[in-house]
Amino acid sequence: MSNDSKIKIGWFSFSCCEDSTVIMTEVMNDHWREWKKIFDFRHARVLKTKNILDELDIAFVEGAAASEEQEKKIREIREKSKIFVAVGACAVQGLPAGQRNTFTEGQKKEIEFLLARFGALPKVLKLSEVVKVDAEIPGCPIDPNKFLEVVNKLVGEFQK
C-alpha cells in the first residue's frame, strides 16, 4: 500500500507522564505488521525524527495543556485532523498533570514563581477545555483493549 492510501496518523504528547505512549508501543508488539501496512505515521516524535503536521486523518493526543504554547499547538492539531482523540487521564480529565489546580492557597504560593518563570497557564486544562474532542480513551494508564477498540472502529470508518 502506498503512503497516499494509508490512514494518516499523528501521535502527540503534552503535559503528562506519557504512559499512553508506552501502552501504544506495547500494543504495537502484536499489531505492528498490520499498522505498518495501513498507517502512515506522519507525526510521532517517539517513533521518528522527520515529522510532518499537514493533514491528519486521526490525531491521538495524550496529556493536558500546561502553557499557552501547548494550547496553540493543540488547536493547530485540531485544525489539521479529521478525528481528534484524547488519550489517557491527563488528556480526558486533566489529572494528575493538573494536580496543581487542586492545591491550597499556601501550596499555590509555593509554586507561583515557577509558573511565572516558564510561562505556565494559571490552570492546567484538559483537552476538551481547549478544542472539540471526537473520542476519549480514559484511564491512568489506558486499557490496551479499549485503545484497540477505538483504533479499530476508526480504521473501519476510514476504510469504508
Binding site: 504528547s13 503535559s15 503528562c16 507522564c17 506519557e18 504512559d19 499512553s20 505512549t21 508506552v22 501502552i23 508501543t25 506495547e26 504495537m28 508488539n29 502484536d30 505492528w32 499498522w35 505498518k36 505515521f41 516524535r45 517517539v46 517513533l47 521518528k48 525524527t49 522527520k50 515529522n51 500546561a66 502553557s67 501547548q70 494528575p96 498533570a97 494536580q99 496543581r100 492545591f103 501550596q107 509555593e110 509554586i111 514563581f113 515557577l114 518563570r117 516558564f118 505556565a120 491512568c140 494508564p141
Partner: protein, 428 residues
C-alpha cells in the same frame, strides 16, 4: 572560523520533551544548554498531606515508562519509614517486576530509538521486511519488548503503573501456567538479545570523555539493594545518598541537575557495568565472554551495549528465579503509623533513583523528595556535548553536528517526564 547558533527545538526518539541550544563563536563553544522542557507537574508538593499508603501509586505517575521503578522505590521509602522488612518472596517479586521493566524499557530504547541511527533510517518501522537482517530485527524488537511486558504483567499486574506491588508485599501472586509461559517467552528471546549485543558491540559510534560514574552496586538483588559506589573508593549506604548530591540550578531547564564534589557524573547501565560487571548472572557472563572486557569504558555509546547486556542478565536471572521458586500467597506486612523519615534507593533503567519521605504520626505525609537519573546526568550530557562540538566544529557541517549531538543524547536514554516533576528550587 565558524560562528553559529544551533537549536534543536524538540528532540525525537527520547522519553518526553527536551531541547538544545548551542552558541559557537569563532570556533569556540560559548554555551551549551540542554533544556528539559516538560512542564512541572509538582508531585512533591502534591504528596503533602496525603496518606502514606497512597504515595507509591501517586509517584508512579511521575513517569509512564519508569513508573514501576518509581513504584518500587517509593514502596521501599515508605517501608523504611514504617520499619517494615519485606519477605524474601516479596523481594523476588519486586526484582522480577524490575526485570520486566528493564527488558521492556531498554528494548524500546535500543530497537525503536537508537537502531534507526545505526541503519540510516528515520524510524524502526521503516525497516524493510524483505531484507533478511531488517526483517529479523523488526521481529526481534517487538518480541523482546513483549516478553518484558509479559513478565511485568504476570508479576505486577501491568507493565505501567502496576497494581499488585504495595507497601508490605503483593496483592496478587503469579500462577504456575503464567510462570511456565514467561520462562518459555524469555528463553525464546535469548538468541535475539545475543544478536542485539553483537550489533551494539560492533556499532560504529564512539565518543570518549573521562567522567565519574555512580551506581547502586548489588549486595544480593541487582538493581534493588547494595551500597552506592561512586567509583572513588567509597560505597555509601542508601540513607546517605541524599548528602552526596549537590543540587545545581540550571535556570533554563525545568529540571534540577546534580554534581558530586563539584564534578559531574554519570548514572545508568554503563555506570552499573563499569562498577559491577562481575555481579552479572553466571549464564550471561558465560555467553558474553570477552565482550565484558569492554567495561569499564569511557565511550558513552557503550551505554547502549550495557543496556543490551542488562537485558540478557534480566532474562537469565528471571528464568532462574521463575524455575526455582514456587510463589505462594502471603499476607501483606502491616505496621502502625509513626513519625519517621524513610529513604528508598534503587537502580531504575536510566540510573540511580532516590525517594525520601517524611511522615507524621497520623500517617500523613509532611514532605518528600525525588531525585531521578536524568537530573543526575544532565550536567554530564552538557559537558559531553561541549567537547563533541569543539571536536567537530572545524570540519563538520552544522546539520551533521546536530545529528551527532542527537545520537549522543540518545545514548544516555534521558527521561524528561521523570526529570520535570517538582523539586523545590529557588532562582536567584
Amino acid at each position: 572560523m565558524h560562528s553559529f547558533d544551533l537549536t534543536i527545538d524538540r528532540m525525537t526518539k527520547v522519553e518526553g520533551s527536551a531541547s538544545l541550544e548551542i552558541r559557537v563563536k569563532d570556533n569556540k563553544v560559548e554555551h551549551v544548554h540542554f533544556k528539559i522542557t516538560e512542564f512541572k507537574r509538582f508531585f512533591t508538593e502534591a504528596m503533602k498531606g496525603k496518606p502514606l499508603i497512597a504515595l507509591p501509586q501517586l509517584l508512579a505517575r511521575i513517569c509512564g515508562t519508569c513508573s514501576n521503578a518509581h513504584l518500587i522505590c517509593s514502596i521501599e521509602a515508605c517501608e523504611n519509614a514504617l520499619g517494615i522488612t519485606p519477605s524474601e518472596q516479596t523481594m523476588l517479586l519486586r526484582l522480577l517486576t524490575t526485570y520486566g521493566l528493564m527488558i521492556r524499557d531498554h528494548a524500546l530504547h535500543l530497537y525503536l530509538f537508537v537502531l534507526p541511527d545505526i541503519y540510516g533510517k528515520d524510524s524502526f518501522l521503516e525497516f524493510d521486511e524483505n531484507k533478511p537482517e531488517e526483517h529479523q530485527l523488526l521481529h526481534d524488537g517487538f518480541e523482546v519488548k513483549a516478553a518484558g511486558n509479559f513478565l511485568a504483567t504476570l508479576v505486577a499486574g501491568r507493565s505501567v503503573h502496576a497494581p499488585y506491588p504495595t507497601i508490605g508485599g503483593f496483592f496478587h501472586f503469579p500462577d504456575k501456567s503464567g510462570v511456565e509461559d514467561a520462562v518459555k517467552k524469555l528463553e525464546a528471546i535469548r538468541p535475539a538479545v545475543l544478536r542485539l549485543i553483537e550489533i551494539y558491540k560492533n556499532a560504529p559510534f564512539r565518543f570518549d570523555r573521562k567522567t565519574n560514574f555512580a551506581a547502586l552496586v548489588p549486595d544480593k538483588y541487582w538493581f534493588l539493594d547494595g551500597c552506592i559506589n561512586t567509583g572513588k573508593g567509597e560505597c555509601l549506604p542508601e540513607k546517605h545518598f541524599g548528602e552526596y548530591l549537590e543540587r545545581t540550578v540550571l535556570p533554563y531547564s525545568q529540571a534540577s541537575a546534580y554534581k558530586h564534589e563539584g564534578e559531574s557524573y554519570m548514572v545508568g547501565a554503563m555506570a552499573r557495568l563499569n562498577l559491577a560487571k562481575d555481579r552479572l548472572h553466571p549464564r550471561s557472563k558465560n555467553s558474553l565472554g570477552e565482550t565484558l572486557d569492554i567495561f569499564p569504558s569511557t565511550n558513552i555509546f557503550h551505554n547502549n551495549l550495557a543496556q543490551a547486556i542488562e537485558i540478557l542478565h534480566c532474562v537469565d536471572h528471571s528464568i532462574e528465579i521463575l524455575t526455582k521458586h514456587n510463589f505462594e500467597p502471603e499476607p501483606i506486612i502491616k505496621a502502625a503509623n509513626r513519625e519517621a523519615i524513610g529513604i528508598g534507593v534503587i537502580e531504575a533503567p536510566r540510573g540511580t533513583l532516590y525517594h525520601k519521605v517524611s511522615v507524621g504520626a497520623d500517617g500523613l505525609i509532611k514532605e518528600g523528595e525525588v531525585v531521578v537519573p536524568t537530573g543526575q546526568n544532565q550536567i554530564n550530557i552538557e559537558e559531553d556535548i561541549w567537547r563533541m562540538v569543539e571536536e567537530l566544529i572545524a570540519e563538520t557541517p552544522k546539520d551533521k553536528i546536530a545529528f551527532e549531538i542527537e545520537k549522543l543524547i540518545r545514548a544516555y536514554d534521558p527521561c524528561m517526564s521523570c526529570a520535570s516533576h517538582f523539586l523545590k528550587v529557588r532562582w536567584s
